[in-house]
Structures are given as C-alpha cells and as structure tokens.
C-alpha cells in the first residue's frame, strides 16, 4: 500500500478570492497514480474537489497539474514516487519551493493547478489563451494543391514521416507551458506547445507554407522569445524534446533566409564578439541588432548600465587564452548546434 498526504491547493470562486490548502490522507494500493488518488478523494471523500480527467493513460492531456512544484500529467505520475520525492525534499530543509504548504508531521505531496493561466476552480484552469496561441500557428495542412485526386494520397517517405513524428505525440496538456519562464516573463510569448505544433507542420513535406509559418513566428513574441532553459523538455510527460524542436524551427528559419530577425543578428554579433576577444561586447549588440535607429532607442538603457557599472565603455581586452575560446566556438560551429 501507498500512504500519502495530499495537500491540494483549493480555490472556489463562489467562496471567496483566496486559495487555501486542504489535506487529504489516503492509503491506496501499490501502483496507484496521482490521478487515481485524486479520483478516490473526489468519489469517496470530497465531491467538491474539481479537476479534469478522461483517458487516464497519458493520451488525452486533460490532467495536467503541478505536483510537488512541477507540471506533470497526474495519470502517469506514480503516487509512491512523489511521496518519496516530498520526503527527500523535506529532508533538505533549504528546499523552500511551496513552503507555504501545510506540513504537520509528514511531508505532503503538493498538488496545484497549472501555472501561467488563471484558475477557474481548484485544479481546473482557464486554458483559453493557451488554445488561442495554438490557433495562432495555423495548425492545419496548407498544401499547394488544395484539390488532389480523391484516389491518391500525397507521398511521404518513412524517413520524412519520422522527422515530423518527433513532434506528433504532443497531447497539449499544458505542462511545458505552465512552467515556461519565458511565458511567465512575457505572457504574449506564443509558448512551447504552439511551437511544437508549428514544428510538426513546418517539417511536414506535404505543407507548402513553411516559409510563411516561420516568418510569422519570427516576430517579437515568436520562437526567438524562448530563453532556451530546457524546462519544457524536462517537463514534457510524453518525452518530446520540446526545446530541440523549437531549435529546429530556428535552424529552418536560417535555411529559409529569415536571418533578418533581430534575435538572429544579435546572436551573430554575440558570437563574433566572443571569437574576437573571448568576451561579450555589449556596446556592439544594439547596433548589430536594431540598426542605428534601434541603437538610439537603447541609449538610455545603455547609460543606466554604464552608470551602474554593468557595462564597461572602453574597448574590450582579449582574455588570456583567447585561442582556446576560438577553438571552442569553432568546434561548436562544426557540430552544427541547433541555434545560430
């Protein structure tokens, strides 16, 4: 049997503005998932507990939620594993995430709604914006020939299928989006889930709009707003390599000649500076990125950075072993990293 205390962050708009923690003690058979534990609570202990669920085996994407601070699918998360995780973290008192969770005696498994979206009730979130962002990438096939013969399929080799298959298994649960720090910082960022969908269509050989798709995602809230922190890849309950797929969109943008984007220019200037001196030269970045007009706009920020000592004004001296740095850069270029 698995013995656990679930601490669930409850919110009921009919009862007030504040959320609160509620504890449920459960003892359930080995192999029980977090979702099964919540279903047990809802059916036999507290019918007012609200959460979404449907297929209970990781393919419908309904039961995305944060467990012990990380977004996951409740249905493919073992209760015993997160109990052990909670105990391990409690043993290291410096771990302070979710320190407001109740904890009298036994460490509890903390269960909260997904992040980066408003809560409707308990673990049910309002995913309206999430779905809108998916719509933004025009997730449908846009072939050149809109009326093909009804008696023949469009051809695609198994190898071509395999490339887009890497992005197919996204169940749109919102786990990556919930914990995306770029969405948190810039709520208009299209976000990792929509970018995976964009990958799936951009790399579909039957689609004729790859260039336009990439162009549309090259604006300030498109693919370049990703901070490359890899949290999405870590969180994905279906083991999609989310960040890598976003990187491949960037790679394809380069191939498609879409390097006019500010972020690409900035990345190039960044690498050139490193090659030359082994240091980042912040003075050159605004001009390379935004041109004279953009650089003018950055002047006040530059002045503040210079005044506070964040940015040096003088010429950059090369680091002692600049040759080693250059070899590192050369190796990185040879190995064909996924980002420019």
């Amino acid at each position: 049997m698995v013995t656990a205390t679930l601490a669930v962050r409850r919110f009921d708009p009919e009862q007030g503005e504040e959320s609160r923690w509620q504890r449920y003690d459960v003892e359930l058979p080995d192999g029980t998932t977090v979702l099964e534990a919540l279903m047990f609570v809802q059916e036999h202990v507290d019918g007012s507990l609200a959460f979404r669920r449907s297929c209970r085996h990781g393919v419908c994407g309904s039961c995305g939620m944060r467990v012990n601070g990380c977004a996951r699918l409740a249905c493919n998360t073992q209760l015993a594993a997160v109990v052990e995780e909670a105990e391990r973290r409690a043993a290291h008192a410096h771990h302070t995430v979710g320190a407001d969770a109740p904890d009298d005696g036994r460490p509890s498994v903390r269960i909260e709604p997904l992040g980066n979206m408003p809560v409707i009730k308990d673990l049910v979130t309002d995913m309206t914006v999430f779905w809108e962002k998916l719509r933004r990438v025009q997730p449908w096939l846009q072939p050149l020939d809109e009326s093909p013969s009804p008696d023949a399929e469009r051809r695609m080799t198994p190898a071509q299928y395999a490339v887009l298959a890497e992005g197919l298994m996204c169940v749109e649960c919102g786990a990556c989006y919930s914990d995306c720090i770029a969405v948190e910082a810039a709520p208009e960022f299209v976000g990792p889930t929509a970018l995976v969908k964009a990958y799936r269509y951009a790399y579909d050989v039957r689609d004729d709009q790859t260039h336009r798709r990439l162009y549309d995602l090259s604006d300030e809230h498109g693919m370049w707003e990703c901070t490359r922190c890899y949290t999405c890849t870590q969180r994905c309950p279906k083991h999609l390599r989310v960040r890598e797929l976003i990187g491949r969109l960037a790679e394809l943008s380069q191939i498609e000649g879409l390097s006019s984007d500010a972020a690409v220019k900035r990345a190039k200037a960044f690498v050139e500076g490193i090659e030359e001196t082994g240091r980042v030269d912040e003075r050159t970045l605004p001009l390379a990125t935004g041109g004279p007009q953009g650089a003018l706009g950055d002047l006040p920020a530059a002045a503040r950075a210079a005044a506070s000592g964040k940015m040096k004004l003088g010429k950059r001296e090369a680091v002692d072993d600049v040759e080693t740095v250059r070899r590192v850069v050369a190796r990185a270029k040879e190995s064909g990293g996924t980002t420019p």
Partner: protein, 558 residues
C-alpha cells in the same frame, strides 16, 4: 437562446467529421462537448483504420470480412456503403493532413489486423486515433466552427417526433441553457463504463444513448459488447496492432494456445474469438494470476520502438514490464458497444425527424455482433461525414427552428436544485456506479447464462431504485464536476438494464454474446436485431430484421 441550424453533440472523430461535412455543405453548425475536443475518447484508439487501399485488395473482400466478423448480424447494405467509401474517406483524411505511417514507396502503410484477410489497416504508429482526432480538430479550427466546450448536454428536446434542440449545462457556471437546432447529431460515443476495468475513458458514459432512450427513441443490439483481448490490469488497452506486427499469446505453460481455438488465424482471429479463448484458458487454470501473456519479443526491439512506442511506455508504466524483454500480462477488457441508437446509413433515426447519430453512439448496424479491429475509426469517419451531410440537408430545408421551450430549461434547473437540496447523506453516485460496474462485469460479461443474467438484471434494477435517492455532495455551481457524474450514472443504469435484458432474452451465442446455456448460433430464431424502447417499467424489447444482400450466413471459423 442559442441557435444553430445543426447542433453536434460530442466532438470526437465522428462528431467533428460531421461538423466539417455540415459546414462544407453550407450549414451553420456548432459543436457541443463535455470536454475540449482533443480530450475525446478517439485519442485512445491505437491500432488503425481499415480500407482496401492496396491494388490487390478490394472493398468486396473488406465487406466479406466485416460481415463474417459481425457473425452475420451486420446490415449488409450499410456495410457495403462503408467498405466502398473507405479508401476515399481515408485519403480525404490524409489530404487534410493526417500523418499516416508510410511504406518505403511513400504510400500509406497498412498492417494486418484481426479477422481480416488482407493487411488493410492504415495506421500512424500506435497513435492512429490520436492523430486522426487532432487532424479533425485542426480542420474545425480552420473553419472557425463554434465549439461549446465543457458544456454537458442533459436532454434531447423533441416535439411530436421532431427535434427542437437540446438542453446543456455550461460547466463554467453550472447553469442550463436551451440550444435550438433544426438538426441534432449525436456523436457522444460509447457506454462501456457500465463495466469495471473498461478500456474506455472515464467520460464514456453513454450520454447520447441515455438521452435518446429517455426521449423515446429506440436503441438497438445493446447486448453486444466487445471485450478486447489485450487490456492491462486497469483496462488500459494494448493495441491489436501488437498481434498484427507479430506478437503472440502464451498461457502459463508457455503454450501458444490460439492454435486450439483458431488454427488458421491464430492470434489474428476475430476479437470475440480471442477473448473467449483467453477467458477459457484463465478459467481452466492456465493463466498467470488471472492474466495471459502477450509476447512482443518476436517483433524485435527496433520495430517495437518505432511502431509500438506508446504500447511500450504503457506497459512499463502500468505493468512494470518492458515488452522488448518480457511478455506483458493482459486479459480481456470491456471495450466497444456494437449497439447504440438505431439509425440508417445516413445516421438518421427512424423515430425522430432531424435526429442523426454518428460513431459509437449509433447502431447502423455495420458491426453486428462483433466489430473488427480498425473498423471503428472507419465507422466514425464514413458515417460522421454522411450524417453531417444529411443533417445539413435536413436543416437548411424548411423554415426557422422552433426553438427549445423555456420549460425544458426550467425542468433541468429544477432537477439540479433538487439534487443539491437532497440530504447530503443520501446515496452517492460513486458507490452506485462502482457496484454497477462490478456486477455487470461478473454477471453480464464474456460468458453468460440465464441465472447470472437474471440476477444481474435484478441487481441493476435495485441500483436504479437506490439512484432515486442520489444526492449532490455540495451545491456549488462553478465547475461542479460531481453534477455531470450524477447524471452520467443515471445514463449508465438505464443502458446497463438494456444490455442485461437483451442478453437474457437472446437465447443463442453470436459474436460477442456467448451463452453457456445456448452455445450455438441460431439463425432461424435469432438472426434479428434487438430493439429497446423505454416503457413504464424499464425497456421493452422488440426485434427487427437483418439486411442480407451478398453473403448468406455461413459457419464462422478462423
């Protein structure tokens, strides 16, 4: 009042295919679903979708396999329509962008499936339903078809045999609304949650069948419920594609026992045959802790990791077994309703003007007494399209919609208030549902006999009695998930009663319906559909003829 020409209830593959077809035919159409469309149960379909795409295959061969698979209870005119339409409907899905797995020459790949004389199951790895569902959703998005998502439809509103619309509760507010439509398409899926350990999503509670039945429409062939041969301990499915790719079934002695039951087709006999064989092996003591072993090692790790990736993950997550290294413990699991709301090959109900059905909620009947693997996604695509087209034609003719009377909405509001006001110490829906699921599995399962069926029917009726005292644990309205659960359980009870009664009445064995006390098929007396209508004291059962066009019944062996 919300009004659309065509209202589609349920946004799985069949419902969304119907919506796209109705939209493309020029109708103002809206989808109403208790979940977001991509959460629908279609996503659970793994193995694939049948069509005679190959140059050396034919729709006639597909039709014969389907008729034989149905144990001659399927209506052959409808089966012919489906098998003829299959290649174009599947290629239409491909044209919409559905990513099917491919042969080296770039054409849609096909794999062998149970009960089929040809490898005619097109697939996308082991996520076929998932990619079809997402492709269809994306077509709905492209057309900007309105979706009332997380709206739970509670009632079908008829007026003198003519559809006027539905009543639905918006989960966000908990308030009922009238939704007016000149045509309504039910696409609400199955009711396999009358059983424990079902392969179905928790949401598969027969809502459409239940509301049609309460509105006086006939249900058909409800006693035929398919048990899938390979479910994990909790009912989660392992696709038939595993056996199509070369997986084998072993008993506790390591014997490939299907040789005894289906010497020609072996593991790729029809599902009813394989499930019964497994149940027999387990009952006679040759199971391992109540399970049979599905051995995928003959397939080889490389192919498992490309074509059966999800299966491998599920097997490791749920059974703790890596199928590249060891066999997976499986057993038969309640999976598919061959029965449903009676309708014709355009999905049209004979009993209500303007009412159509598509997908698993319907009984057309193309599956008869046993469905072939790969034919349910096909049913959803072909008859989804046809019902959408027919509904659009019906809705765009004639005058303005009559609308849903306010009294229907008021009645729903009163029912919710009464449930909330009832003593919280009343019956809990979860207890009733669990007892129902246990008794149905035990008494109305794979092997059936009169004594157990009568006991099962009596127990279902006793639970219906208790359900009269069911209460909501709390009266909150915003996302009160207990409210739909209570109403779902009401549907399950009505439908379980039909299943048990149909099984008790039918004194023969045919397809999925196996009577120990009547082990043979009896074409003389029982080659007919069971039809259930709601009477004062539960369902009343009558019968209707089977349509035979090309294939008179023969002895069925594999």
């Amino acid at each position: 009042m919300i009004a659309h020409e065509v209202l589609i209830i349920g946004a799985g593959l069949a419902g969304m295919r119907a919506a796209v077809a109705a939209h493309d035919a020029g109708a103002d159409v809206a989808l109403v679903s208790k979940v977001h469309p991509v959460r629908s149960h279609t996503c659970c379909a793994q193995g694939g979708i049948n069509a005679a795409l190959g140059d050396d295959d034919s729709w006639e061969a597909h039709m014969f396999d389907t008729v034989k698979g149905s144990d001659y209870l399927g209506d052959q005119d409808a089966i012919e329509i489906m098998c003829r339409a299959a290649p174009r409907d599947i290629r239409a899905m491909e044209h919409m962008g559905c990513p099917f797995s491919r042969f080296e020459n770039g054409r849609i790949a096909q794999r062998p499936f149970g009960g089929a004389g040809f490898p005619r199951t097109a697939y996308a790895a082991d996520i076929s339903g998932f990619v079809l569902l997402h492709t269809m959703y994306e077509q709905v998005v492209r057309r900007e078809i309105p979706i009332y998502q997380e709206w739970y439809v509670t009632r079908l509103v008829l007026d003198d045999g003519v559809v006027r619309g539905v009543v639905a509760v918006d989960m966000l507010t908990g308030r009922p609304h009238g939704m007016s439509g000149k045509a309504v398409v039910l696409a609400t899926g199955p009711a396999s949650r009358i059983y424990e350990s079902s392969s179905n999503s928790v949401d598969c509670t027969g809502d459409g069948m239940g509301m049609a039945y309460r509105a006086g429409l006939p249900l058909m062939d409800m006693e035929f419920v398919q048990f899938h041969p390979t479910g994990l301990r909790n009912g989660v499915l392992i696709t038939e594609g595993c056996r199509g790719e070369g997986g084998i079934l072993l008993n506790a002695d390591g014997e490939r026992f299907m040789a005894k039951y289906a010497p020609n087709k072996m593991e790729l006999a029809s599902r009813d045959v394989v499930s019964r064989a497994e149940a027999t092996e387990i009952a006679e003591g040759r199971g391992i802790d109540g399970f049979i072993m599905l051995d995928l090692r003959p397939i080889g790790p490389e192919r498992i990791k490309t074509n059966l990736l999800q299966v491998r993950e599920l097997s490791m997550d749920i059974a703790g077994v890596d199928p590249c290294e060891a066999p997976i413990p499986i057993r038969p699991t309640p999976h598919y309703f061959m029965g449903g709301v009676q309708c014709d090959a355009d999905g049209r109900s004979p009993a209500a003007e303007g009412l159509f059905c598509a997908g698993e909620v319907s009984c057309i009947s193309v599956h008869g007494a046993n469905r072939l693997g790969g034919n349910s996604l096909l049913d959803a695509v072909v008859f989804g399209r046809r019902s959408g087209e027919a509904a659009a034609a019906a809705a765009t003719a004639g005058g303005a919609p009559a609308g849903v009377p306010q009294s229907a909405v008021d009645d729903q509001e009163a029912e919710i208030a009464a449930l909330a006001a009832r003593d919280a110490a009343g019956e809990r829906q979860a207890d009733i549902r669990e007892e129902l699921q246990t008794l149905m599995f035990a008494r109305v399962g794979i092997w059936r006999d009169r004594g157990a069926l009568q006991a099962g029917l009596d127990e279902v009726r006793a639970l219906k009695e208790r359900y009269g005292r069911v209460s909501l644990g709390h009266g909150g309205r915003v996302f009160n998930t207990e409210l739909p659960q209570v109403l779902e359980t009401g549907n399950l009870l009505d439908l379980a009663e039909c299943v048990a009664l149909g099984a008790l009445n039918r004194e023969e064995s045919r397809g999925s319906h196996a009577r120990v006390d009547f082990p043979d098929r009896d074409d003389e007396t029982w080659m007919k559909h069971s039809v259930f209508t709601r009477g004062d004291d539960g369902p009343e059962c009558s019968y209707s003829p089977v349509t035979v066009t090309r294939h008179p019944p023969e002895v069925r062996t594999y």
